[in-house]
């Protein structure tokens, strides 16, 4: 009798432990947590950062076996502009640097050096560096990933005022999923990248005294 009671008690303890573990795992997965940028200077945002010029994308990859052409660059920049506009900022693309430089040279420059190549009529500029691309298709699994760093530079102050970096991925597994994902995987990855990064960009309405 006592053995039966003890078995039942053990069962109920195990059930409770499992319930607690499962509930905490579910709760962790469901909560959306505010993303933190690598760097942000809120004072610079208060002084005003518009218009933000979105500079040509800098492809700093060592391995360029996966293509990243002008169409891709335009798509990504247009997503960024839309996202910045959604956050309340005026942003526009700028199609050239003030003088011709290689991606390697751009990549080696610090903020002060970069400012010499940025349009003087803008208050700030966003530089997007693509650090890695991956395109994989294996029988029933397809995926595309892009890794990029986003930096906003205050042109007059010659310093970085916001920075974040992330990997955006899109793909699918299984016959139907993989086939569908194969078609829109690049756009999906660019969207995932922008969706990941921009929650850390301060909304204009949240900046006190933003002009």
């Amino acid at each position: 009798m006592n053995i039966k009671k003890s078995v039942l008690q053990n069962r109920s303890i195990i059930q409770t432990v499992i319930m607690v573990i499962m509930t905490s795992l579910m709760a962790t997965g469901c909560v959306t947590i505010q993303r933190k940028p690598i760097a942000v200077d809120v004072n610079a945002f208060e002084r005003g950062i518009e218009p933000i010029m979105i500079m040509p994308i800098v492809d700093v990859r060592a391995d360029k076996s996966v293509s990243f052409d002008k169409d891709d660059s335009d798509k990504l920049r247009s997503l960024v502009i839309k996202r910045l506009q959604g956050l309340g900022y005026s942003a526009q693309s700028c199609d050239s640097w003030k003088s011709s430089v290689s991606p390697q040279q751009l990549s080696d420059m610090n903020e002060k050096e970069l400012c010499r190549l940025l349009p003087p009529n803008a208050k700030s500029a966003m530089i997007i560096s693509v650090d890695g691309l991956r395109d994989s298709y294996k029988v029933l699994v397809t995926s595309f990933s892009i890794s990029a760093t986003f930096t906003v530079i205050d042109i007059s102050g010659q310093k970085e005022i916001w920075k974040d970096a992330a990997v955006g991925e899109h793909g699918g597994g299984g016959v139907l999923d993989a086939a569908v994902a194969q078609i829109g995987k690049r756009s999906g990855a660019y969207n995932a990248l922008v969706d990941t990064v921009f929650p850390s960009f301060p909304k204009k309405s949240s900046i006190p005294g933003a002009r």
């Binding site: 069962r11 993303r35 080696d108 890695g132 397809t142 892009i146 760093t149």
Partner: protein, 204 residues
């Protein structure tokens, strides 16, 4: 005696959870040291290296990263990183390595500013990736200074991603794939940082 199906399934479930959560492998120092690289410049000054981790290195500070020993750039991780930089600089002879901080002519401060994998990047806010991989990135800030004057010789963020060669997860190999991804990425980041210093100090 009859085995309770509930007890058996509970034990299996617990074992599975432990396998996924608890068995993360710490990164290996020797894998952080970049191989097959050289620089054209060699400075006679003695260098001291320090590595710290920014509080924002993990983009979601309140969330528990998956495989936390691998992904949290804590003081142990920073120390492994520092030792790997010292080993790499010693092997390419860019600078002589000072025995201690006081004996150094030049100081290299490296800060780990961001470290994340794609599942952390996209999985916390949405799940867009149907085919997860071990794609990840690391951003480190490198600042080279003269010890006596404090003059900054060069200063730069180095971003490294392994997106181009990240392995796909295979059943049971998730944590190993993540560890390998972090190790490969760290080695590339260190190589990029040292090559950048070499380029910037060539004309001095």
């Amino acid at each position: 005696m009859k085995q309770s199906p509930l007890t058996l399934s509970s034990a299996l479930l617990c074992a599975l959870l432990l396998l996924v959560i608890g068995c993360s492998h710490p990164p290996r120092r020797e894998k952080f040291v970049p191989s097959r690289f050289s620089v054209d410049v060699h400075h006679p000054e003695r260098l001291s290296v320090s590595v710290t981790s920014s509080p924002n290195a993990f983009p979601y500070p309140t969330a528990k990263p998956r495989g936390d020993e691998v992904f949290t750039p804590d003081s142990k991780f920073a120390e492994i990183y520092r030792e790997a930089i010292v080993d790499a600089i010693r092997s390419c002879q860019l600078y002589a390595i000072a025995d201690d901080h006081h004996a150094a002519d030049v100081i290299l401060d490296v800060t780990i500013r961001r470290m994340s994998d794609s599942s952390q990047s996209t999985g916390v806010t949405q799940g867009t990736s149907g085919a997860p991989s071990a794609a990840a990135l690391i951003v480190t800030e490198w600042s080279l200074k003269r010890k006596i004057t404090g003059e900054v010789i060069c200063h730069k963020d180095i971003t490294t991603s392994n997106a181009h060669d990240a392995p796909d997860y295979i059943l049971g190999g998730m944590i190993t794939a993540q560890r390998n991804a972090i190790e490969g990425m760290a080695a590339t980041n260190i190589r990029q940082g040292i090559e950048w210093i070499a380029r910037r100090t060539t004309s001095r």
